[in-house]
């Protein structure tokens, strides 16, 4: 596999993504110098914010790995041949423990989230009008300081919610890592990409 451009998320999914690709013979030894674009064995690796990976792939990077949460939030037009067996978590609605209410009573609530599109879609579908505040990180703090009534965020073990006196009341979607392919790369590198997908499927 040569001359491929690959976008991977910095953070919790990076090591597993590298290991996963390595098992399909795409060995990317990442330099420790924090370079965000690295040339490795004639491949170009782009390390980006997780939420930007689908955008990079949509705009011309050949392949990438990111969570289904960020893909659905960005609504990027990419191919998604495989759902992967890591990065499993869920996107959920949570409220302060002392104010636990049913989701149907959220009318007029302000919700802090990194996922304003998914949040709006979820409540619109239920016919509930809410305001969203977009935050980038530490969303769980918002109800404690009084700028939001609830949050929509990723829940893995529930420990972060508990530490911030929040309780999960409804799941919006299950999340897992996805293998993504640029729509044009799939066409112009058809054989190479299909071969890679076949190998990754066996991992």
């Amino acid at each position: 596999m040569m001359d491929m451009s690959i976008a991977l998320p910095k953070g919790r999914l990076l090591d597993k993504s590298l290991e996963y690709l390595r098992q399909a013979d795409l060995d990317l030894k990442v330099k420790k110098n924090r370079e965000l674009v690295q040339n490795i064995n004639r491949n170009k690796l782009v390390l980006s914010k997780p939420s930007d990976v689908p955008v990079y792939v949509e705009h011309g990077i050949d392949i990438g790995i990111a969570g289904s949460d960020v893909l659905e939030e960005r609504k990027s037009e990419v191919f998604v041949p495989l759902e992967l067996d890591f990065g499993k978590c869920r996107l959920s609605v949570a409220v302060p423990e002392e104010n636990e209410v049913d989701i149907d009573d959220f009318e007029g609530y302000t919700i802090a989230t990194e996922y304003p599109n998914l949040t709006s879609d979820f409540f619109e579908e239920k016919g509930i009008s809410v305001d969203t505040i977009r935050l980038d990180g530490s969303v769980e703090v918002a109800p404690r300081i009084g700028i939001a009534d609830a949050i929509v965020d990723i829940v893995e073990t529930g420990r972060t919610l508990k530490a911030n006196d929040l309780v999960e009341i409804e799941k919006i979607m299950d999340v897992s890592a996805l293998f993504m392919v640029n729509r044009i790369s799939q066409k112009v590198r058809f054989e190479e990409i299909n071969e890679l997908v076949e190998k990754l499927k066996e991992v």
Partner: protein
């Protein structure tokens, strides 16, 4: 990044002029569709608004707008160049539609015009992948209760979604094989024959080309270039009150990204005092010259 409207317009002006000229040579007429129309369930895209308790669509998809206004009188050869809205997002497109009684002829003509336009724009490294919605519909006929899931999987080439379907492993394999059926020929006569009739080695049969839009009913195609991260256009065939139609739309912003502008040197530069220079310029224009007034 906010685009520079003036420099972007300079590029689009050149591109659109070339497209218009080619389409005129092919005998196509430009259609001028109103921007604001009464809302109709058959209209696609557009920005939906209310005004004085009435519902309207602003700049909807022109093919659907033409369908709403369709009257008899074949053949119809029309083209449009306009911004299409999808909510508040806008996209400049050039599109053509050809309606006639011969469903093979209209596809062959439309695809030949596509080649004319792209070659005129000196975009020669383009490819066209041709697929068929009917082949897919026939393939899933006996499992059509999963139609929506299957088309979601097809649109995203999602092997995992196909794997999760409660259907036999043979059927899953058949779906995956069909999705990966791509080449100069595919074994399906209607696609192979079309590629043969167009006779251009940049055209491929590709059953992985799946765009289940409401009005396309069989052959669909996607136009792309390795220099662009997105498709540069797409099209397909449809039926309008029993009449066969075929058309495509080019994404002018994507075309602009890969189009190389050549400096125009064929202007006659005119200078002198206002009265005589403009009189001379007028004469040159009448004689078919291009003029550029010296300031």
């Amino acid at each position: 990044m906010k685009k520079d409207v003036f420099s972007e317009s300079e590029r689009l002006d050149i591109i659109v002029s070339e497209i218009r000229e080619i389409l005129k040579r092919w005998g196509y007429q430009e259609i001028f569709l109103p921007s604001v129309v009464e809302h109709d369930g058959k209209l696609r895209k557009g920005l939906n608004i209310t005004c004085q308790n009435e519902f309207y669509s602003v700049n909807p998809d022109p093919t659907s707008q033409m369908a709403v206004n369709f009257r008899d009188g074949l053949p119809i050869r029309k083209f449009y160049i306009r911004e299409i809205l999808d909510g508040i997002e806008g996209k400049f497109q050039a599109g053509i539609e050809f309606l006639c009684d011969d469903p093979v002829r209209n596809k062959v003509e439309i695809l030949n015009i596509l080649i004319s336009i792209l070659e005129r724009l000196k975009i020669e490294d383009f490819y066209v992948d041709i697929g068929s919605l009917k082949i897919w519909k026939e393939t899933i006929e006996n499992i059509k209760e999963y139609r929506d899931d299957i088309f979601t999987a097809l649109r995203r080439r999602n092997l995992s979604l196909i794997d999760d379907l409660p259907i036999s492993s043979e059927k899953k394999e058949e779906l995956w094989d069909l999705l990966n059926l791509r080449g100069e020929k595919c074994g399906f006569d209607k696609i192979d024959r079309l590629i043969d009739l167009v006779d251009d080695d940049r055209f491929y049969a590709d059953l992985g080309t799946v765009r289940p839009l409401p009005y396309y009913d069989d052959i669909i195609f996607e136009i792309y270039s390795p220099r662009a991260g997105f498709p540069i256009g797409a099209g397909g065939e449809y039926k309008l009150e029993g009449t066969h139609g075929c058309g495509f739309a080019l994404d002018l912003e994507m075309i602009s990204e890969i189009y190389n502008i050549e400096e125009e040197n064929d202007f006659v530069v005119v200078d002198g005092d206002l009265k005589t220079s403009y009189r001379r310029a007028r004469g040159l224009v009448e004689d078919g010259e291009k003029v550029r007034m010296e300031i």
